[in-house]
Symmetry: C2
Subunit: 673 residues, 2 copies
């Protein structure tokens, strides 16, 4: 539908949609950067969605049963900011719109979760929003099954562009949604045929509707500028028993001289172009001006959900006090009071039995006691359930026929899994954890970074965390992945050494509300190194003295995870020769960094020779070898210097020189012995 017809046939709609377009033009011009074309193209679709369908209440942006609206094409952030401002979200003032992309404004270049209410997730890295949305929809299905439709009963809407659909993660997400028949998930595809480099056809001939249909979706199409047609398609999508994709044929940068061109994708800032576009729109108002009557109509849309929200609150208040408290707790993402107690009990049991087990098995032991008292957990694995030990007996399986199940078979989709977990955590009411091999952190990286950037407390269970996995060889052996995870801001990287430390690590991970955790776990069996019960969670300190030196402290050995065993044995060798040696277990550098300097110095006092032992590369270790009073000439590293190899684990440790003997010898040579 062209603009003239649209204005003539649907003047009310046009008037509503117009300020989305003009605020976009004005904000991008003021910032002299941004993306004008997408909001201009999708304004009609968004208007119909917000006006007729989206269940929301601008005055209660965190209402747990609201529909979720996700702008996967995050570069079109002005579409979202305009909608939030127009519908009356209190924090999205006109001032913020005017400060689009400026320091301190909540209107960042791409929507940043936590900056403003109504931003359900951080988008911009393409494909993430649509993959998050699958997690949102899974969380909704699970909560609806467990809490009833009176408490959870909503849709998840996504606007996605060609970029989102070209990214591989979109296929993982689409296939997951299709398998799980997520009928509450509706994707509005901004089918404008344009990418940054030019026409989509430069790089793609995919029939997107056929592709979605192949993975179990219902597909619809509409003229993305015809409000009646848009509405018809959304109505159809809502009644479909499967996830639905609507191909919305739109014109990028509608009405401007850059319409339907890649130029229109970017920042349209030329005053002439903007003036001409305003004329085409028939919009006589100045920059950032929205006539009061139009604003009032939008605010009425923003208040459309007030009654529904109040009804929902009544229904919530009808729950028992216990249930309501539980609902509140899980949506706050708080750990239950019982968590500390069950972990403590497991630790007691552990020091009694001293099991020699892999930390992945220790992790399963911990989850076995935690999952029953945290009904909000949802576990899973990217097709490595038996290897990641993420499935405990009580979880049940999340399936179309058993939505209440809490275990997800994600398939071989590490990236989609991680992104879905972000969506689940953002939805609230669910605490996701899932596993793959540590080496395949690589596949999940883009989503793992967003966990950290958004501050969502998902847990990545990364087993087979070193050459200790053995024969699968270097493609499966992480050597740089601890460094990569540690290099990522706002991420706890846990590498526990035995059952006690693993249990403590889970307690820490599940107590986070703003920080994701990477749980690096061994494939191979490890002896218990924590031999006395302590009520205190030592992993929460990040590092601590595991074994003290006897006699004069000449050496400090630092190690994590599977190499703590090696450090303990090396200490025995050194002590047998009369060399006093302390062993420091360092399961979480980030938490150790957070301790005060006095504690850090207590654990790592200046003076003794320091040797770090870790079956990964050295990168990052210098912080602890030379820091806190350490000295380069008195420190050494026992670990990997490149990629691994395929052979049984014991052989690899020997060949790469990561043994107690090598460690002791290194310490002695640093002592000049």
């Amino acid at each position: 539908m062209d603009i003239a017809t649209l204005r003539a046939q649907h003047p009310d709609h046009w008037t509503l949609a117009c300020p989305i377009r003009t605020l976009t033009l004005d904000a991008v011009a003021a910032a002299n950067s941004g993306h004008s074309g997408m909001p201009m193209g999708m304004a009609d679709v968004a208007t119909v969605l917000f006006q007729n369908h989206l269940k929301f209440d601008a005055s209660a942006p965190n209402w747990p049963d609201r529909d979720r609206f996700i702008l996967s094409a995050g570069h079109g952030s002005m579409l979202l900011y305009s909608l939030l401002h127009l519908t009356g979200y209190a924090d999205m003032t006109l001032e913020q719109i005017k400060n689009f992309r400026q320091w301190g404004a909540i209107t960042a270049g791409h929507p940043e979760y936590g900056h403003a209410t109504g931003i359900e997730t951080t988008t911009g890295p393409l494909g993430q929003g649509i993959a998050n949305a699958v997690g949102f929809a899974m969380a909704e299905e699970n909560l609806r099954a467990r809490w009833g439709a009176k408490i959870q009963d909503h849709h998840t809407y996504v606007i996605a562009g060609d970029g989102c659909l070209m990214e591989g993660v979109s296929q993982e997400a689409i296939a997951l949604a299709g398998k799980h028949e997520l009928s509450r998930l509706i994707v509005l595809w901004d089918n404008n045929g344009i990418t940054i480099d030019g026409k989509v056809s430069l790089s793609d001939v995919t029939d997107q509707m056929a592709r979605f249909a192949a993975s179990g979706w219902d597909v619809f199409a509409c003229d993305g500028h015809d409000p009646v047609d848009i509405d018809r398609a959304i109505v159809a999508a809502k009644t479909s028993p499967r996830p639905a994709m609507i191909a919305c044929a739109t014109h990028i940068a509608l009405g401007s001289s850059a319409q339907d061109t890649s130029k229109g994708h970017g920042a349209l800032t030329a005053p002439d172009l903007i003036a001409q576009t305003r004329e085409v729109y028939g919009w006589p108002h100045g920059p950032f001006v929205i006539p009061a009557d139009i604003k009032a109509r939008w605010e009425a849309i923003g208040a459309r959900g007030v009654d529904a929200r109040k009804d929902w609150e009544r229904r919530l208040s009808n729950l028992s006090d216990t249930k309501r408290a539980e609902f509140t707790r899980i949506f706050k993402g708080e750990a239950p009071a019982k968590l500390a107690a069950v972990v403590r009990a497991l630790k007691k049991q552990a020091v009694e039995t001293m099991p020699k087990i892999a930390t992945r098995a220790a992790s399963e032991r911990a989850l076995e006691v935690i999952n029953p008292i945290m009904q909000e957990t949802m576990g899973g694995s990217a097709d490595l359930t038996g290897s990641n030990n993420t499935k405990t007996g009580d979880l049940g399986v999340f399936m179309p026929e058993s939505r209440e199940g809490r275990y997800v078979y994600y398939g071989i989709r590490e990236h989609g899994m991680a992104s879905a977990m972000n969506g689940m955590a953002l939805h609230g009411g669910v605490r996701p954890y899932s596993g793959t091999f540590m080496c395949f952190t690589d596949y999940a990286r883009p989503a793992m970074r967003l966990s950290a950037l958004m501050g969502v407390p998902v847990v990545y269970v990364m087993t087979h965390d070193s050459i200790g996995l053995g024969e699968d060889g270097p493609t499966h052996q992480p050597v740089e992945h601890l460094a990569i995870s540690r290099a990522t801001p706002n991420t706890l990287v846990m590498r526990p050494a035995d059952l006690v430390e693993t249990a403590e690590a889970w307690e820490v991970a599940f107590s986070q509300t703003k920080t994701p955790t990477v749980m690096a776990l061994s494939r191979q069996n490890l002896p218990a190194v924590r031999k006395k019960h302590l009520n205190l969670n030592m992993v929460a300190k990040g590092a601590y003295v595991l074994e003290e030196a006897e006699g004069k402290r000449q050496v400090i050995l630092m190690a994590t995870g599977s190499e703590v065993e090696i450090a303990v044995k090396a200490r025995e060798i050194l002590q047998a020769e009369g060399i006093g040696c302390r062993v420091v277990s360092m399961p979480c550098w980030e938490l150790f960094e957070e301790q005060d300097q006095a504690y850090r110095r207590k654990v790592l006092p200046p003076g003794p020779v320091r040797v770090a032992v870790e079956a990964g590369i050295r990168f990052g270790w210098d912080r602890w070898l030379f820091g806190e009073g350490g000295k380069r000439e008195k420190s050494g590293f026992i670990g990997m210097h490149g990629f691994g190899a395929s052979a049984p684990a014991d052989r690899l440790y020997k060949e790469f020189g990561i043994t107690a003997e090598d460690t002791a010898a290194k310490a002695k040579s640093l002592l000049g012995l």
Copy 2:
């Protein structure tokens, strides 16, 4: 087709296929680990492919015009090793098969490129092989267009499993292949319905044939145990004008008690099971025994291509000496002699004009002089051509209608792009480089790691390499990505400061034969810092003294890329106050690490205060702050401590305290001033 029918109707075929299955059983049993089921399931398909179709000569494994065979489902490595042994590849002895997955053997758990001839690429991380294959096929199309079908004219065959097809990168690869109508690419899908967690249907309902068709493929199906049907499908696929996918219906772990189960996916080692399976197969021979007549038949298959290869060699020898030398050079991956000269000329010009340009623009300037003298380069971008500055005027565009073009519009597919580049480089004759934003290194990580592990010299042009990109905000601002890239073994991470350094960096990158390069380039303009012409390539040293201290050397400032400007200005501030200050530019840590200690000490002598300036996180910098005689108490870091923000770049540098003033102040405070 069941085994009884197969044996009855196709006894010759059965006898050929059998030793693939039994060698797999024997090798996995000997190793007590591995994956038996896939080779047992796909032995019939592979036998037909090698017997009737694959153009190869086991005695000349590197023949440039051979068909490429890629085992994307790399866990089934014994399929490949069996075929290589049976057809007579000299290095794949029976001894190697017996040492499957053992230290020092060429028969690693997953096929490792470079370990044995006939392994075209490293596989195991799922989806990589099929995505590499797209690069192989693109290289072949390009070389055929440029050298003629007499010199390049072959197919690329892939065996892919369900895991490969679930990984998102497969969609990127499939769509790219569909767009480019890569008719020489044929994917044999091992459609066995089983993954590690159980049935495929646990996690997927995708109609794979419809999905491939939606992206422009021709699709075929066959009974993967009926040699006639397999052959029919391959013949049809070869004549198809588009890339072809053949769904081969197979039984995983065929003939064993674990057939059609997820148990069959893994290591079948029970002696009973193996004995029973041998019985079902009618294979009376002992472990690792292959009767001479069967081996002879296989070796005849391995020699099938001898005549074709000799014909090809004759055709190659008919080329002019110059052309033949060029062909040999590009397949060796060697830089032309002229490279140094054109880079030197550009450097001379640069110090004369001292342009203030972004290093991404400097990179384009370098490519403009290099691409004409290196006709083997193929550039590209993941839909950021104008931002990455990777397209020079002379390249032409690689399209179905212009196969000779050397620029690829990869679409929004960083992962597929990186994986395709690996394939191109492995194919030989082509030297790929391509771009995206540095932050989206994340998306390409799995393939970038494989570039490093395999040792293929692709170049990743990663622009917008810091908060200096400004308004796009933290989703687009790398802070940990330099650390991530540096943490990866066998990777050169270049961060040049101006046009001279950028030109030098390209010379180094294009001189590599075994190492990939990450070229981290600025969005923002930077002043020239190299003011005098030197013939010597200083970037090749990794780090060097850019500005010497005047007077007593009290401070050493270390910086890379866009922060060298800041260090130079900070030096001016310090010198103005009479504080002698050296500036060290460190464009490539890895190369600096390779210099002898005398050189490193010369550049970073002990004594002065050291301050590092880099608009990324500190992780890794301690190596240079404390190493080579540095001291913690006399060193400081000016950079990022977490994620960035959305605002103009200048504002961000100020707010995050990364300025010349901050740097000078830090140095002074370390001096106690």
